[in-house]
Symmetry: C2
Subunit: 223 residues, 2 copies
């Protein structure tokens, strides 16, 4: 199995590449500059033991072409729409996993949602319904992802309009030893994406006794 991670040289992309490669999934990371992506792939590979799957580096379009089916969009939100426009033709037959959180300019404690309602809905509108978009992995701290000594302190809330695509993404994410839940249609991204700035606010506030807070679905307490 081979996935691609666009924006794979950023903190979120690097952490995801490490975690997926360690779980045995080949990763093609994409960046605007192929050389930068190749350097990052080499660096990341050196952090993993030889049993891990390979990480390779490419320009954005070449990275998309490498994916069997699943393409993770982890570019900065400012490049979200332009990146999608530039790869739309290559995404036919694939599934886009959108992890974007539209943080307000200059204030990571707030969202500034696009007119479509959320980044996931904007991506789905831009790509058209024949290319399934699945929103996921919004609420996982990049620091946590890159800290391979620890497990991920977050459940993953997954949304999108195509159930089969969501099920594939949930299966992928569970390979990281985290719980992943189908949280409904793309519209649910209005909530799920907006959880991230709330976590950032808590981390900044010093009102919690930790940084890099995550969010989890909890069963009723036992006695």
């Amino acid at each position: 199995m081979k996935i691609s991670i666009l924006g794979g040289t950023g903190p979120q992309g690097r952490g995801l590449a490490l975690r997926f490669a360690r779980a045995g999934i080949e990763v093609a990371i994409g960046s605007r500059e192929a050389a930068r992506a190749a350097d990052a792939a080499t660096e990341l590979g050196a952090l993993l033991n030889p049993a891990a799957a390979a990480i390779s580096g490419h320009d954005i379009r070449a990275a998309v072409a490498q994916a069997d089916e699943l393409v993770i969009l982890a570019v900065p939100y400012s490049a979200h729409d332009a990146t999608l426009e530039s790869i739309k033709d290559l995404l036919v037959g694939k599934v886009l996993i959108d992890i974007a959180v539209p943080l307000a300019q200059g204030d990571p404690k707030r969202v500034a949602m696009p007119a479509a309602g959320s980044a996931t809905e904007a991506a789905q509108a831009l790509l058209g319904e024949s290319i399934p978009v699945v929103g996921a992995l919004h609420n996982v701290s990049a620091t946590v992802l890159n800290d391979l000594e620890h497990s991920i302190n977050c459940d993953v809330l997954v949304c999108g309009n195509d159930l089969a695509a969501k099920e594939k993404v949930i299966e992928l994410i569970r390979k990281l030893d985290v719980a992943a839940y189908n949280c409904g249609p793309a519209e649910s991204a209005r909530c799920i994406e907006a959880i991230t700035p709330i976590l950032i606010r808590l981390n900044i506030s010093k009102k919690v006794p930790f940084t890099h807070a995550g969010i989890r679905i909890c069963p009723p307490d036992a006695h």
Copy 2:
């Protein structure tokens, strides 16, 4: 200390009345019919041991008048705006705690937010900025609240535009032995209120091994 709970005869209101009275806080429950509120107060009191604070029943306006400062609005969402209009004059000098979740008609797995963005923002707009509105307690299952044998499996995400009011509400909620966090301005209610239908969806889906899911803020995992 005495609070009032409007809609105190509904499942959420009853559970909150029980929990707060058990924690030593007097509760005046309000309902459209004073007799129904009085009956509910008697029933609820009988479920608690004699060390608990008193629960009394009143019509809506009389219940508001009983509160020292904090008034919880727990009426069905369909009665949200009309109830606020009917008590606006009595809320001067008090703090309204809005627990409403604007679920879509006929589909508790979705929200249908009002034009203001969320119920909390709609309440704040209706009451005017001089009466602070604090959104809280949206994500706690009524079944969990009413099950006094178990603790509450949920953190409480609190939002609103008035910091002093939020701090009072956080202090109140912590008396229920749950964590409560300041999650920013009233606008954060667009996210917080929308978490509830996601939890309802999970509970209905049978994809989680439990019902009455809650949501919690989690620290990074230890080794």
